[in-house]
Assembly symmetry: C2
Homo-oligomer: 394 residues x 2
Amino acid sequence: MAAEAPLISPVLASEVNRARIMQALYDTGPLSRAELARLTGVSRATIGSITAQLIDNGLLAEGDSRPSSAAGGKPSRPLWFAENAPPIASAHLLPGTVEAALISAGGTLLARTRREYDVHVSGGAPALEALTEALTEIRAAGSAEPMGIGVAIGGMVDTDSGSIVHIALAPALDGLPVAEHLSTTLELPTWIDVHPRVQALGDRWFGQGRGRAGFASLYTGEALGVGLVIGGSVHRGPGGTGGEVGHTTVDLHGKPCHCGRIGCWETIATHTWLRAEALEKGLPGAATLTAGPLARLAARDHPHAAELLDEYARNLAIGMANLHQTFAPGLFILHGDAVAAGETLRGRIEHQLHRGIPPHPAGPPQVAFTNLDDHATLLGAAGLVLSRTLHIAI
Amino acid sequence: MAAEAPLISPVLASEVNRARIMQALYDTGPLSRAELARLTGVSRATIGSITAQLIDNGLLAEGDSRPSSAAGGKPSRPLWFAENAPPIASAHLLPGTVEAALISAGGTLLARTRREYDVHVSGGAPALEALTEALTEIRAAGSAEPMGIGVAIGGMVDTDSGSIVHIALAPALDGLPVAEHLSTTLELPTWIDVHPRVQALGDRWFGQGRGRAGFASLYTGEALGVGLVIGGSVHRGPGGTGGEVGHTTVDLHGKPCHCGRIGCWETIATHTWLRAEALEKGLPGAATLTAGPLARLAARDHPHAAELLDEYARNLAIGMANLHQTFAPGLFILHGDAVAAGETLRGRIEHQLHRGIPPHPAGPPQVAFTNLDDHATLLGAAGLVLSRTLHIAI
DNA sequence: TAGGTTAGTTTAAAGAGTAAACATACTGAG
DNA sequence: CTCAGTATGTTTACTCTTTAAACTAACCTA
């Protein structure tokens, strides 16, 4: 329990309970009042009164009644988010590009758009403009006013002030007050967070992390990042620090990293490394190689391809083993480049990971690929709004 | 919030509130009802009724009234743990040795003892016997029955089953059901956990981590271990995994570790490394060197001593920087060997740590030495009982 | 001694969850 | 077709807890 947690008053308790009902729905899918009562361990009467409020507020709606079981009984009426419940506006700010989407309260993608902007304009006005335009466009696609805006940033941010700290490929945006600008311009509550953490929120609310207390959401490809879910909530250090797992030292006597240090995990497990190795091994398309094509080369028994795939798996597993030894998330959900390589790579990563850690009765950690395709981040930005709006600290 | 959290009923709310009052006292020290009311944001009436129960139960007692401020007013009566409140029995199981202590509810050490045992007897009966004897002895030193037993284990454990998984220097104890044995033999609820995590609980309840939402408690010396406090609670992976930070890879092309892998943090930041380097540099007493004597050598301008101290600080900082990059605890509390080297080493570690991480508006992480002397683990074992008994997940 | 200030308690009221009974709506055997 | 059985959802009387406001207690200063 966080330090200085307020005492629980009846009204706070009911607020928390309302939020937990919502969360149980997100974690499990549509549920009848009786199912909710069993799941949460309270009486059907209580669930009835709580859900009545949520239905009155237009957040939830009763679905068509489901057939009774063979034993008989009154058919249950599943509850789920109402058609016209407030949706959520989400965006992903990348160097030069903005993606935005409107997500329904239930987690379906209602609309999606993108904008390009000039990264070089100091002050970052074009980025804010692109964000505002994209969000205005998708906002118009919904029938109700969004409950808020969530933005994922491909760089370091200060979640307290809602501003960008540093984006390596877009230094002109450093210090940009994204949340402040959007909340005043669009008159909606706005939250921002770093990309891997938002991605983890996507897994937590809508993906394989649903209902789980702990897991690690890993992004691989041109960079490495991690979002850690601990105790059901995504972990944030002071001001939103943490998750910069790409720049942890794994090879003290290795190659210099672009960040200025030596042997960061990124020096052995990103595209830059993969392409350099591929070039050395004389693989075709080395300069633009990614994990997917590499796995296909390996499947076709191309010389050295399987070898390189193994090394890539081993290098990814090194950092994951470090995470396991420290945090023991129990589950790694992989996003980005690695996913395209499919089971070939997943199995190798899992194997290497299990080799690199001592046995424990709790069993070895699992390695999974995301099932959210490329929506993970935009869904996660919606999860960011949900986490902040419902008063639960996910 | 953890998945599947139960809904809050009035009676659960009051239970949680009682626990939070207790925690506020631990975090802040003796407090009057009015101060508690201000701290927790509830009315004085509420605090009055909650504390009345705790006083009736014999847990809390009113201290002598404190003088009013210059503005006048009725003098406040500080509340603190009662003299005869149930104490806590705590123990630390090491290869060959058991330490045990009786800790008052308020966190003072009432009695302390130790036992030796034969590590080589397979089945581990002597260890259990030593634990039982030591705990029986210190139990007799208290006026009231202890509220429970907390045991720190110098090795890998399964916190779910309360048994030892593996202790490197005492393989005869593998699988030993410590909690089960003690709880039936001594008829007291018993919990066990790994040493660094227990140490972190000591910091959280009684040391520099008091009242903090997040920090890392690091043990240095013959081994490296970490206990992570996140959201006010100590972090446990499934079954109590995690914290094995000594065996995270930092030097992929480094020396082999006794665990079978290459370049673990322990290969560059423990006594083994320090002594090998000292030998190479021809420092006196190299074979038994620790950080304290090394710092004194460095202070006396002994050739190479300052150099070695710098390297030691740098090597410790490498793993700490990795922890900061992933988890950003904001504060590192150091225990063990390093403490004896004093500010000389602390400053160097902090300097090296700050060099190794990118700047952020939230400010750099702090490095502190424990103020709990060698009691940290035994106090932490008491904290383990407190965490489990009060229904808060610290 | 009076007025101001702070601590702690009392009391009536409001809000929330609960248990038990009840109404509703289905299944399936006879 | 009826009726017992079963499960869902709602109503009602009740308990528990916090709260606001008034009140008492104990101190300070002028």
